[in-house]
Symmetry: C2
Subunit: 297 residues, 2 copies
């Protein structure tokens, strides 16, 4: 090969430009200046021999090649971030930042009290929550620990099953007064239903286990678990939510518990290389005990 390997820093610049679609914006994000970013991109294009962005006055548009190379740069970045986290947490005591991946509803309604208790026990701990229904890749180090409702199948993971959560149909009392109480599964067709917009792994698992679920029409569709949860609470209609969660709300009533009672597993997963890391170990154990306590209520 003629030219030497490119500076690894160039990849960071490449990624920033790819995200911001502009040299100036990328420079602001990296605390650099626009000319340096321009030089970095030039250097990469020079080293690889093809264009990465088509320049224009209103920004830079990535080429096919740039999009092709983006995933590599992203995992590189994820690993630098993970490296920083473990570096800040090295030592005998548990301190540093732990990045936790969970669904929105779990992260917003269940995790906070558990994490608060952990924080009291280990004041050096800090938390980053990545809340989405798209499962993050633990092997890519997008997160340190994941709380999932589907069984993790990847290798090289420490997995612990915590138990099962029950999902049930719920509605606000006011809605029941207004629209009546469904007496059977077929009655649901005449109600205001709250459901999902796009398919997620959790939903696919659910659909396959509830007969007749395909025929239902949702009047309120949202990707966000939280939005659905709020919709149920505000009396929009009937939706699916965790039984343990709904029980804490005095104004919610469960509907058709005998017909609809879906049980999903709850798993905790962590990369096995993090097992010896104090901060991750502490959070893993803390989450395990805290979440099983929640499940038992």
């Amino acid at each position: 090969m003629s030219a030497a390997e490119p500076d690894w820093n160039l990849y960071r610049s490449f990624l920033a430009v790819l995200r911001e679609r502009s040299l100036s914006a990328a420079a602001r994000a990296l605390n650099l200046t626009q000319p340096t970013l321009a030089r970095h991109i030039d250097a990469l294009e020079d080293a690889w021999g093809f264009e990465l962005f088509t320049r224009s006055q209103q920004g830079l548009a990535p080429t096919e090649a740039a999009l092709e190379l983006a995933p590599y740069a992203e995992t590189i970045e994820a690993n630098t971030a993970a490296m920083l986290r473990t570096a800040s947490g090295l030592g005998a005591v548990a301190k540093g930042t732990v990045r936790i991946s969970a669904s929105e509803i779990v992260g917003a309604e269940i995790l906070p009290p558990v994490l608060a208790e952990l924080r009291q026990r280990y004041p050096g701990l800090e938390f980053e929550l990545v809340l989405s229904n798209a499962i993050d890749n633990l092997l890519r180090r997008d997160a340190d620990i994941a709380v999932r409702m589907v069984e993790p199948t990847q290798e090289a993971l420490v997995v612990r099953k915590l138990g099962t959560v029950s999902l049930g149909l719920h509605a606000h009392k006011d809605y029941i007064v207004r629209a009546g109480k469904p007496a059977s599964f077929n009655d649901l067709a005449h109600h205001s239903l709250i459901g999902f917009d796009r398919e997620t792994p959790a939903i696919r698992a659910m659909r396959s286990r509830v007969p007749g679920a395909e025929t239902l029409h949702f009047a309120f569709r949202a990707d966000s678990d939280i939005a659905q949860w709020r919709a149920v609470q505000s009396g929009f209609g009937i939706g699916i939510c965790q039984v343990g969660l709904a029980r804490r709300e005095l104004n919610l009533v469960r509907l058709l518990p005998d017909v609809f009672d879906l049980k999903l597993g709850l798993w905790l997963a962590m990369h096995e290389n993090l097992r010896a890391t104090p901060r991750c170990r502490a959070v893993f154990d803390g989450l395990a005990s805290g979440l099983t306590k929640y499940l038992s209520v």
Copy 2:
């Protein structure tokens, strides 16, 4: 945070020092000088606040913390390498380097003719073989394409089952003349057997499917498939090898085909992000057709 994020280049230097156990050797490996490497390590230790290496005159010994952080740096490096590979192969035609992971026996005995044919069709292709029984992690980009004899379970992989390979007991004619032909499975106890030293996934899968395999004692043990294969060819004794492979050797005879006939699947796996990459696409398809042709013989 007080300090800025460290230069990504420092990670490369860190990795080199970790491997070479010496600043000077690392400098030679990276085409840098020893003082710069020293400064890089200093910078990292400064940024993280703890020592990475204990200095001595006969080199640098990594601390626990350094070993803890090593895996991150390694996946970063793996991704930069993969990035370079795809960058060099971007374009309409299939060219560039493809890194293939396979078992030793497959890589040494089966792949070469298939790759030679591929090379004739696409003169721009170059190949890197990673031959080991420890399966590489495709998600970490240790390899582009993997030929495996256990079913890949990781997500985000393009997997194609090519067929099955038959494993059978074989020995050289001369050995049979010398030691006789075993007439039953129990006769094997009185023969010179060739087998594995340590456990590998393929072996575990095999053991569980061959009754009585635990009782056998191997007089020739080697991790290397090749070494076993050579031992069988040289008349050491009786060993397990692929039926299709042994059939090409005139001096090998198959033993107890009715008692011992193990069929293993053969899979081809690739990261799904590489599907659109011409060079990987071409090699994946080429391997698929070439290997199925081998299986059908």
